[in-house]
């Protein structure tokens, strides 16, 4: 039987297991929206296309499934760009469908026309302009396959209006034929053998875990592997929740706002095993001084990540679980040696413990003014381990990474690579749709929150009980911190002069608003928020000039940390 393009799209989504899409209607997707009620697909109407993409992103991060967003052509499509770039930098599987003007009008500067395929070429894993309805089913099949396999990422399908209307016989392909796309999953056996040898020869090993560990759901394998070789583990912002922060081998986050002991361990290690991490500049600091004494093993599914920023002694391309398991098995072949190994590295662990004891993560508590770190600790205390925490970008994001102590993979949703303010609220929204029975909290700053605050409406409309904690310092805090430390307190354009009544803002949308202005009000407000059904916004009036510490100044080595301000 013949189907129109828009019907083919929706049927294909069902066949890909999609039950939820995030989107915003418009002229060139009106046919899709007209057919949508005929299909068992839930549509979450956000209040901005950027938020639809972030929501699909949050949905994907929390569930591991491919997120789907729909937007119309022109401004609808250009509004998706920040969302797509965010997902691309963090390797999030996503399919974005944009409407396009009818094919005969493409290139004519038609109403609401934008060359979204051209614009997103460098921020998508792949993208398509569908010119013939006969290609549509194949393209959708490929798009989902590309988005979720290998190093995941966003794929955009630009679908002209006339292609949505045209009809053809619908056959959904069983398999994907892409002669140019064959990710390497299986780690090379020779390289694995070399890795095992290098590990046994090391005396100061460190595991450096990145977002790839989350993407490949390698959490359990990682714990097993770290325990086998008794190596301390440092994580990136993106790798944070993949390895439990409370684990005795965990040193927390490394890099610019990492822990003292994580950075010291990396700097003094003799073997750094990078697992699904990409040596981002926020992690390495001055590259020449990064892990200067270490041999580096780099395990990654994406060959382009390897040797991009740092020299690597042993590259292993492959799926993390496969490679880690193979190295573990190789090590276990020599039972005596592997059992004796932790003993040989015991002095190293004592040294690391000494660094930890010397400068543990801490902050000055106060009875008179709310410390942001205290709020984060309290949220952690009052929620269970399954709670999903999204953040925006800035100081609150770093405090969350430093003080929340994540225990489970896919519970920390944050824009690591692109650093997108306004990400957290829609991402939390998407996560709540994916995980309706779990507690979802957006930890936010007053600056970031205002970049997508309109999504309060979506929360209320769809009865999504997301709790929002705004750490309000009336500043663009992270930039202010840089201005304080490196620009002689010249606070150019960082004070947010207009004090916003966030409680009233929440109420205007029909959500609940709560406020804490003193430390003794914090716990009560969090408890009340968690007990209140539906979306709740908590505003915490925090210490205005609290800084994120420790901090590695830009251009410094990661062991040259400023420990307190």
């Amino acid at each position: 039987m013949k189907r129109t393009g828009s019907q083919i799209l929706l049927e294909s989504l069902l066949l890909e297991g999609v039950d939820t899409v995030f989107g915003y209607p418009g002229g060139t997707v009106i046919n899709i929206y007209n057919d949508l009620p005929d299909y068992p697909i839930k549509h979450i109407l956000t209040r901005h296309e950027q938020a639809a993409v972030h929501a699909a992103d949050g949905y994907a991060r929390a569930s591991g499934k491919v997120g789907v967003a729909i937007a119309t052509s022109g401004p609808g499509a250009t509004n998706t760009v920040t969302g797509i770039a965010t997902a691309y930098m963090d390797s999030i599987p996503m399919v974005v469908i944009t409407g396009q003007v009818p094919t005969p009008l493409i290139g004519n500067d038609a109403f609401q026309e934008a060359d979204i395929v051209g614009m997103t070429r460098s921020i998508t894993k792949h993208n398509y302009l569908v010119k013939d309805v006969k290609d549509l089913a194949r393209i959708i099949k490929q798009a989902f396959y590309i988005a979720r396999t290998g190093r995941p990422g966003p794929v955009l399908i630009d679908l002209p209006k006339d292609v949505q209307i045209a009809s053809t016989k619908f056959v959904y392909p069983d398999s994907v034929e892409l002669r140019g796309y064959k990710p390497t999953y299986s780690g090379n056996v020779r390289q694995v053998e070399k890795a095992a040898k290098m590990i046994l020869a090391a005396r100061r090993p460190v595991l450096y875990v990145g977002g790839g560990a989350t993407a490949s759901d390698a959490g359990k394998n990682l714990i097993e592997f770290a325990e086998l070789i008794q190596a301390p583990v440092v994580t990136t912002l993106m790798g944070m929740a993949a390895f439990p922060t409370g684990h005795p081998l965990s040193l927390g986050m490394l890099g610019m706002h990492g822990t003292y002991y994580a950075n010291m361990a990396v700097t003094n290690s003799d073997l750094l095993i990078a697992i699904g991490a990409r040596f981002d500049d926020r992690v390495t600091g001055r590259i020449a001084a990064f892990a200067p004494k270490a041999k580096i093993i780099h395990i990654d599914i994406d060959p382009t990540s390897i040797k991009k920023n740092v020299r690597v002694d042993l590259p292993i391309v492959g799926e993390l679980r496969d490679v880690i398991e193979k190295i573990g098995n190789k090590l276990r072949e020599n039972e005596e040696q592997v059992e004796a190994f932790p003993e040989l590295t015991a002095p190293w662990r004592s040294q690391v413990a000494a660094w930890r004891a010397q400068y543990p993560m801490s902050y000055k508590s106060s009875d008179s003014v709310i410390k942001p770190q205290y709020v984060i600790e309290k949220i952690r205390e009052l929620t269970d381990e399954s709670a999903i925490i999204a953040t925006e970008v800035g100081q609150h994001q770093m405090w969350t990474a430093q003080f929340f102590n994540f225990s489970n993979p896919r519970t920390f949703l944050t824009s690591g690579g692109l650093g997108t303010m306004g990400f957290g609220l829609p991402a939390a929204l998407g996560a709540q749709v994916a995980c309706p029975d779990r507690q979802v909290i957006d930890i936010s700053g007053d600056g970031s929150f205002q970049m997508n605050s309109q999504e309060l409406a979506t929360l209320v409309q769809f009865k999504l009980p997301v709790k929002i904690a705004i750490l309000n310092n009336n500043f663009l805090g992270m930039v202010r911190q840089w201005q304080e430390l490196f620009f002689d307190h010249r606070y150019s354009q960082t004070p947010l002069e207009l004090p916003i009544d966030f409680v009233k803002l929440a109420e205007a949308y029909g959500a609940t608003g709560l406020r804490a202005s003193r430390p003794d009000e914090v716990e009560g407000v969090i408890r009340k928020a968690l007990e209140t059904p539906g979306p709740v916004l908590m505003e915490f009036k925090i210490d205005r000039e609290e800084n994120v510490m420790p901090m590695v100044p830009a251009g410094a080595a990661i062991d040259e940390m400023v420990l307190a301000s």
Partner: protein
């Protein structure tokens, strides 16, 4: 490891689809890699195009270029010919001013370099020259004093030497 800038000739087999050239060009420009020349045309299998790219960079950059090219979904195969035996040819069309005094000399040069005159007017010769880029350059250098009016070079294309199809069109 000493690493120095060197010229590399890379062949890339890609899906013969619209937008592929932009993807490749965008990859180079977006990451600050150089393209000295680029030529593209379909292969025996018209669903595949072959690009020949001349670029330069140190070992690290070349490794990234090769990996990034491979990462494109539309890329089927990439070969850097630099360290292997290959034949290289470039085509140039050169329009030269011709006067009574210079006509004979121009023809002599064309002859020496085994070129062909493809268009003649009372005041000009247009010739085709094929060969390695260095040969083309030699012709250009000789004709320049006589008066080149217009010059177009195709950029080199290459094939590996020997019987084996190192970069078979069959992928």
């Amino acid at each position: 490891m000493v690493s120095h800038e060197a010229k590399h000739t890379i062949s890339v087999l890609v899906e013969n689809e619209f937008g592929v050239l932009t993807r490749v060009a965008g990859l180079f420009s977006g990451r600050g890699f150089n393209i000295e020349s680029l030529s593209v045309a379909p292969t025996l299998d018209d669903s595949i195009s072959r690009m020949t790219i001349v670029t330069s960079g140190d070992d690290r950059i070349l490794e990234q270029i090769t990996k990034q090219l491979n990462k494109l979904i539309d890329t089927i195969k990439v070969i850097d010919f630099t360290d292997s035996e290959y034949v290289e040819r470039e085509l140039a069309l050169i329009k030269v001013q011709a006067t009574e005094d210079t006509r004979a000399e121009i023809l002599r040069i064309v002859d020496i370099f085994r070129g062909n005159v493809v268009d003649v007017t009372a005041r000009s010769y247009t010739m085709e020259i094929t060969g390695a880029p260095s040969k083309i350059q030699a012709v250009v250098d000789l004709l320049k004093p006589i008066g080149i009016q217009e010059l177009v070079r195709s950029g080199p294309v290459v094939l590996g030497r020997g019987a084996k199809g190192g970069l078979s069109d069959k992928g």
